[in-house]
């Protein structure tokens, strides 16, 4: 069953490799957003199955974006997986406490993402 994935990351190269990797590995549809603000809008309108959210972004970071998504009825039900360069256990724990569905640490291989997402969300 095909899925719709939204990737919010200010790095275009990341958007691209994630898009390519997921499409190649699983054939899922990948939507992209370059900032938290546009990401929230896209999420509200497109209602993706999962949002891959980069933590470190200018203007509005991943955590703030996640909190905003949580406050919006249209988006609060959408599972969010954080993409982070911070690999520490304590930080992962901290992110989990926020209520995110999972954390995927950079650097990752985008071809592995569908498998990781499936495992995290128990699809």
């Amino acid at each position: 069953m095909t899925k719709r994935i939204l990737i919010i990351d200010d790095e275009e190269t990341i958007q691209t490799v994630v898009q390519f990797g997921i499409q190649m590995a699983a054939g899922w549809e990948v939507l992209t957003a370059s900032s938290g603000l546009t990401g929230i809008q896209t999420a509200q309108t497109e209602k993706p199955d999962v949002i891959l959210l980069d933590v470190m972004m200018p203007d509005m970071d991943g955590i703030t974006t996640f909190k905003k998504l949580q406050t919006h009825p249209a988006t609060e039900q959408i599972p969010v997986i954080l993409l982070t360069a911070k690999a520490q256990t304590a930080e992962k724990r901290q992110f989990n406490d926020l209520g995110v569905s999972g954390v995927i640490t950079k650097p990752f291989n985008s071809l592995d993402l569908p498998e990781q997402i499936t495992r995290i969300l128990h699809w």
């Binding site: 790095e11 190269t13 990341i14 691209t16 490799v17 994630v18 390519f20 990797g21 190649m24 470190m56 360069a85 911070k86 690999a87 520490q88 256990t89 304590a90 950079k106 650097p107 990752f108 291989n109 985008s110 071809l111």
Partner: protein, 707 residues
């Protein structure tokens, strides 16, 4: 003595009869008459009224009247009223005796002894009077003389006793004796041990030759005399020329030289008392009085005086001897004291030198410590400052005077002291401690300091205090922070492009975007592998930086070592298989106190190394055993081994034995360093043992839980 009727007072008949009867006996009594008349005693006959009836010559003389004048006078007229005598009782028939004081017609007083025999004749009583005035006077004279002697003697004794100087005593003695005896020369002759002698003191009248300081040959005073004198012989020679004196001729010639006519010699003996044992008296010398004018009969009193004074001299000699011994003792003691004093002075001198040296070295120390831009102090075991350098003033604005004796808390404030307290207690229990603290300077600036306390132990290993060294590490800390931030930022910033690179290469490698030539695929493989190594390197650098910066707090919990071993072996099984290496884990149930994630990281790291450096077909063992208060983990391989000189170094950053080889195997050069940091953070140790060609064993310990 014949009573005469004309002298008779008015008589009675009875009286007449008596007279008559007397006259009849006159012829018989005639013989007695001159006897009575010339008797020494006064004899009188008195009537009942006490008037004289008759008296002999002695009586007339006693009363100073002729017989004629005396007869008829009452005796009472002659009794001295002030004499205190009771009148004679003529009414009694008892014989009376007593003494009377009489005053005669010429007002001459006389003391008389009387006896009254009543009624020797009818109305005639016999009164016998004996003049005892002279005898009484003689007795009184003697008493007077004795009193004078006693006074004289005590006076001389006092004079002698007033001095402790023997010479003075002797001089006083001869002077006084000469004065009292009115002798021409009085001298003290000292007998010397060789038998000769010498005049050591003399009082002589001006017109006679002096013999003071004159030495006399032994012959003058032969040895045999010594004993006699020592036994107390006294010689009183009235006339030296009288053969009865018994002086030898040569001695008489000798004394003639000095015009000596009479002499009185008394010994001065010395009672030598050494160490409490009494030895017999020894003749010390002689006290001699000379009479030069004429021969002289020496009286007892004079002998006695001389003897007593000689005794006084003996006492003085004994005292002088004691004094001398005392002086000797004092001299010895003084010498001893002087010795002690000298050595004391020497010691004081030495100490002063030592003190000066100490002061100098203290000044140097102060100079040095004051020149250093660190806080240097000595704190006693009451946590009070006993030494501090100038930096305290520069940093805290407190002068050494303010700090000396002050408590740590007073100097640093309650909040800062709270952070110091654990380390202070530790130092005062004998441990050297080093820690970092944040302090506020007098100007309000916050500074990071590195503090070291070194306990000061005395000979008994008791902690007397500690030396405190505090250095400002704010700059270093700032640089460290910058470094950490830099590493962190760089690592994070590297991850994003690495993700893109990594993913892009993987996507390319799928061949779905177009197939590459074999060479192209090989290049892609190299790029892919290098990217993965770069990813590991960034991860390791970040890990190491986090652990070293202390940002990571090990979340230690109780775990069973067996669980770690199983998990680590499972995680590495795939890699082992890939390398055709047999991985054998022998889990042990040991309760350890550790952060699970980090210990797993360390274990997998060591296993990964072991597998990497094994050749296919080799075995890698993971074992554990219980040590004392610790669990020992071992990872053993059968690889090529590590040279002995590398066994320590391999735990340093980028210190692989063969870096090119290691890189080929995907190593970052940080794995073992991270392992060591993790183990040290857990309070354990890590080390490597190896036999070249036979493999290596990496071991580490972790504290076990106490039951």
């Amino acid at each position: 003595m014949a009573p005469r009727s004309s002298h008779q007072p008015a008589s009675t008949q009875k009286g007449k009869n008596k007279i008559r009867s007397a006259s009849t006996r006159r012829s018989r009594k005639r013989l007695l008459q001159p006897l009575l008349e010339y008797a020494q005693d006064a004899i009188a006959l008195v009537d009942d009224a006490g008037c004289f009836l008759d008296a002999n010559l002695a009586a007339c003389q006693l009363f100073g009247l002729s017989r004629q004048a005396l007869l008829g006078r009452p005796l009472l007229d002659f009794i001295d009223a002030g004499g205190g005598h009771e009148g004679l009782n003529l009414q009694t028939s008892q014989r009376q005796i007593g003494e009377l004081r009489l005053v005669n017609s010429r007002h001459v007083f006389s003391e008389v002894e009387y006896s009254l025999t009543p009624a020797v004749l009818p109305h005639g009583h016999l009164l016998v009077l004996r003049d005892i005035s002279r005898r009484k006077a003689a007795i009184e004279d003697e008493l007077q003389r004795q009193r004078q002697r006693v006074e004289l003697f005590s006076e001389v004794t006092l004079k002698i006793r007033q001095s402790l100087q023997l010479k003075e005593i002797l001089h006083t003695t001869v002077t006084e004796v000469q004065r009292i005896l009115r002798a021409d020369r009085v001298l003290i002759y000292q007998v010397l041990p060789n038998g000769t002698g010498k005049t050591i003191s003399e009082a002589v009248l001006p017109n006679y030759p002096t013999i003071l300081d004159m030495e006399f040959p032994e012959e003058v005073f032969p040895e045999e005399y010594h004993q006699l004198y020592a036994q107390g012989r006294v010689r009183a020679i009235t006339d030296v020329h009288n053969p009865a004196a018994g002086l030898s001729e040569c001695l008489v010639d000798f004394v003639d030289q000095f015009d000596i006519k009479a002499k009185l010699i008394v010994p001065i003996v010395q009672n030598l008392n050494h160490n409490g044992s009494t030895s017999p008296n020894q003749l010390w010398g002689l006290l001699i009085a000379h009479q030069c004018r004429n021969p002289r009969h020496w009286v007892d009193f004079e002998l006695e005086l001389m003897q007593q004074l000689a005794d006084q001299i003996s006492i003085a000699l004994a005292q002088a001897q004691l004094l001398e011994r005392l002086e000797e003792i004092v001299e010895v003691r003084t010498a001893e004291l002087q010795d002690v004093n000298r050595s004391l002075k020497q010691e004081i001198n030495d100490r002063e030198h030592a003190e000066a040296a100490l002061r100098q070295s203290e000044e140097q120390l102060r100079l040095i410590t004051n020149a250093l831009p660190v806080l240097i102090a000595y704190v006693d075991n009451q946590q009070q400052y006993r030494f501090n350098n100038n930096a305290y003033f520069d940093w805290l604005g407190k002068s050494p005077g303010e700090i000396y004796g002050a408590h740590l808390q007073h100097v640093w404030g309650a909040a800062c002291y709270q952070r110091m307290r654990f380390y202070v207690d530790s130092a005062l229990s004998g441990h050297t401690v080093t820690y970092e603290n944040e302090i506020t300077l007098a100007n309000g600036n916050q500074r990071s300091v590195d503090v070291t306390y070194v306990p000061h132990l005395d000979d008994q290993n008791t902690v007397k205090g500690f030396f405190a060294l505090t250095s400002d590490i704010s700059d270093r800390k700032a640089i460290e922070r910058m470094k950490d931030e830099f590493i962190s930022v760089v690592s994070h910033e590297l991850r994003t492009p690495l993700t893109s690179l990594h993913s892009a290469l993987k996507i390319l490698a799928t061949g779905r975007l177009g197939s590459l030539s074999t060479d192209g695929q090989q290049m892609l493989g190299i790029a892919d592998e290098s990217t993965e190594r770069l990813v590991r390197l960034v991860n390791n650098v970040l890990d190491l930086q986090r652990i070293e910066s202390g940002k990571v707090i090990m979340d230690r919990q109780a775990h069973n070592a067996a669980d770690f071993m199983v998990q680590a072996a499972e995680a590495m099984q795939a890699m082992a298989q890939q390398h055709e290496v047999t991985l054998i884990a022998q889990p042990q149930d040991l309760m350890i106190w550790a952060d699970a994630d980090y210990i797993l990281q360390a274990l997998t790291n060591l296993l990964s190394n072991a597998i990497k450096f094994s050749t296919p077909g080799d075995t890698v063992w993971l074992t554990a055993e219980a040590g004392q208060d610790e669990a020992i983990f071992r990872v053993r391989d059968e690889g090529q081994g590590i040279p002995a000189d590398h066994l320590e170094r391999i735990f340093e950053r980028f210190q692989q034995v063969d870096s090119s080889d290691s890189r080929k195997k995907g190593g970052t050069g940080l794995g073992l360093t991270i392992c060591r940091k993790i183990i040290e953070q857990h309070g354990g140790r890590i080390w490597a043992e190896s036999t070249l060609g036979h493999g290596s064993t990496f071991s580490f310990t972790l504290p076990t839980l106490k039951e």
